[in-house]
């Protein structure tokens, strides 16, 4: 998008008109479905407008890391599949995949939502690792928000397989281990185009944005993770506005999560 077109977009946003008929602070209607992948231990499909994503949880059993002998792990991996948008190329993941992976990962980890000690089978010997893979099938912006929602829904859908004392996993048997989430960490990203804030951008809007702030909230008061992205810096007034907008947005998104 060149400058003259960006100016035109800005005029539109100033009048609170977006191409799909939304206002700047309006989120697309979100649909969350869980238990959609037969081979995953937990899974979810999220659709919002034309955007569609899948998240799948897989469990592995391994030796603990030396510095945490009684803890398992969580790992989030976002892969922006080349099938989902012409901009995404095959090959080594770039920062566009890696940054949301790490941001969503930290949101889940820093929230303490999952007690990693509960994933210990035998201290120093065997622990469980939870991998959450998020992939868009049809990409239309807001990987942070929709991906974070998909990851959370997939983890809530998780049914642990049976694991014996030696750490062997029986994929066909349901296990006794319950992974309870202490909180529901939900990332929301507020985007800034010039001096206007908007949420849940489409791909086109995302590319026109000057900056973004991903705020992962635990409930209606607490934040557990932050990430500022984009080229332009943000003022402290903007920062305050963005935090408030993030909390406002999360309110309705939590209904989708509570339903699981």
């Amino acid at each position: 998008m060149n400058q003259s077109m960006k100016n035109h977009l800005k005029e539109s946003l100033e009048q609170d008109v977006r191409v799909d008929g939304r206002t700047r602070h309006e989120h697309r209607d979100v649909d969350v479905e869980t238990g959609v992948i037969s081979t995953a231990e937990g899974s979810a499909r999220v659709t919002a407008g034309d955007a569609e994503l899948l998240a799948g949880v897989k469990i592995e059993s391994r030796e603990p890391y030396p510095d945490s002998p009684d803890e398992g792990s969580i790992m989030v991996n976002v892969e922006l599949l080349s099938m989902s948008h012409k901009d995404f190329e095959s090959g080594r993941p770039g920062i566009e995949s890696i940054e949301p992976s790490r941001v969503i990962d930290r949101g889940l980890r820093e929230s303490g939502a999952i007690d990693l000690k509960s994933l210990c089978i035998e201290e120093g010997e065997t622990v469980l690792g939870i991998s959450i893979d998020i992939v868009p099938l049809n990409y239309d912006g807001n990987i942070y928000g929709l991906g974070g929602l998909a990851a959370l829904a997939a983890v809530k859908d998780l049914t642990m397989p049976a694991v014996d004392d030696n750490g062997n996993i029986d994929w066909d048997e349901e296990g006794d281990l319950d992974v309870d989430l202490a909180h529901d960490p939900l990332p929301v990203t507020v985007y800034k185009i010039d001096d206007l804030l908007l949420i849940d951008p489409t791909r086109e809007e995302e590319q026109a944005a000057d900056a973004r702030l991903t705020v992962t909230t635990l409930d209606d008061e607490r934040v557990c993770s932050l990430q500022k992205g984009g080229d332009a810096p943000i003022s402290d007034d903007e920062f305050n506005e963005m935090i408030d907008l993030a909390f406002d947005t999360t309110e309705s998104l939590r209904d989708n999560i509570d339903a699981i």
């Binding site: 060149n2 977009l9 191409v19």
Partner: protein, 231 residues
């Protein structure tokens, strides 16, 4: 003897038999296999006398001489501008075809068209290897300032424009919207934000329902209805 197995406006898939016998002639989008005519893609059937044609429902743009398209300046070279025309093939705008001014070699070409600029151009030639030349000199050809670009299905462009511009004029008039639809599937719109959104919705509807009858009337109604809401 021959039997035709399809009707006008049927949608057919690749490999489907369209006619049997030698009475019919395989047109574009079809081929003859022995005494059968077969569909060569996912297409809309058009029967013109004894010629059976398959009009593709989809497909990226393949440049054709004479087409008016919208391009984006991708690179600036000594000899002119390299322009992305939403195709597997880039196009070249030579110095002599950029402007009615005489442009000296080595001068600052960004004064005319800069990287990222969108331009309405016409394709002057396409070689067998699909080397494409374009011109920005001509009626209605120009740099496009402001507005927005959307992508439309290149196969639906004739329907979006309508015969002699009839369909697109309805939208332009009803919404006071400036619109240029390129044969290559880039369309440029410029209007008041709310009207622009409505224009895009109308265009999307034409894309979806292009193969049906009565579309012009439905689009008129759609726009009248909207205007009715305004008053």
């Amino acid at each position: 003897m021959g039997t035709i197995l399809v009707e006008e406006k049927d949608i057919v898939a690749p490999g489907e038999t369209l006619a049997e016998g030698m009475d019919y002639i395989p047109g574009k989008g079809t081929f003859r296999d022995d005494d059968e005519i077969i569909s060569k893609g996912l297409s809309l059937i058009n029967i013109d006398g004894s010629v059976i044609k398959g009009i593709p429902m989809n497909g990226r743009y393949v440049p054709q001489e004479g087409d008016r398209v919208i391009g984006r300046v991708k690179d600036i070279l000594m000899s002119g501008w390299k322009i992305d025309i939403n195709s597997a093939y880039d196009s070249m705008l030579p110095l002599k075809d950029a402007s009615h001014d005489y442009i000296e070699k080595g001068s600052d070409l960004t004064r005319y068209f800069d990287l990222g600029d969108y331009v309405a151009v016409k394709i002057t030639s396409v070689s067998t290897q699909k080397i494409v030349d374009i011109t920005a000199k001509g009626q209605g050809l120009q740099k496009l300032e402001g507005g927005r670009i959307i992508e439309v299905n290149p196969q639906k462009v004739p329907r979006i424009i309508g015969s002699r511009g009839s369909m697109i004029s309805i939208i332009k008039k009803a919404l006071d919207c400036n619109i240029f639809v390129g044969q290559n599937g880039y369309a440029w719109l410029n209007a008041e934000p709310e009207n622009e959104v409505k224009a895009i919705q109308a265009i999307r509807r034409i894309e979806r329902e292009a193969h049906t009858n009565g579309l012009t009337e439905r689009i008129s109604d759609m726009l009248d209805h909207d205007q009715g809401d305004e008053s």
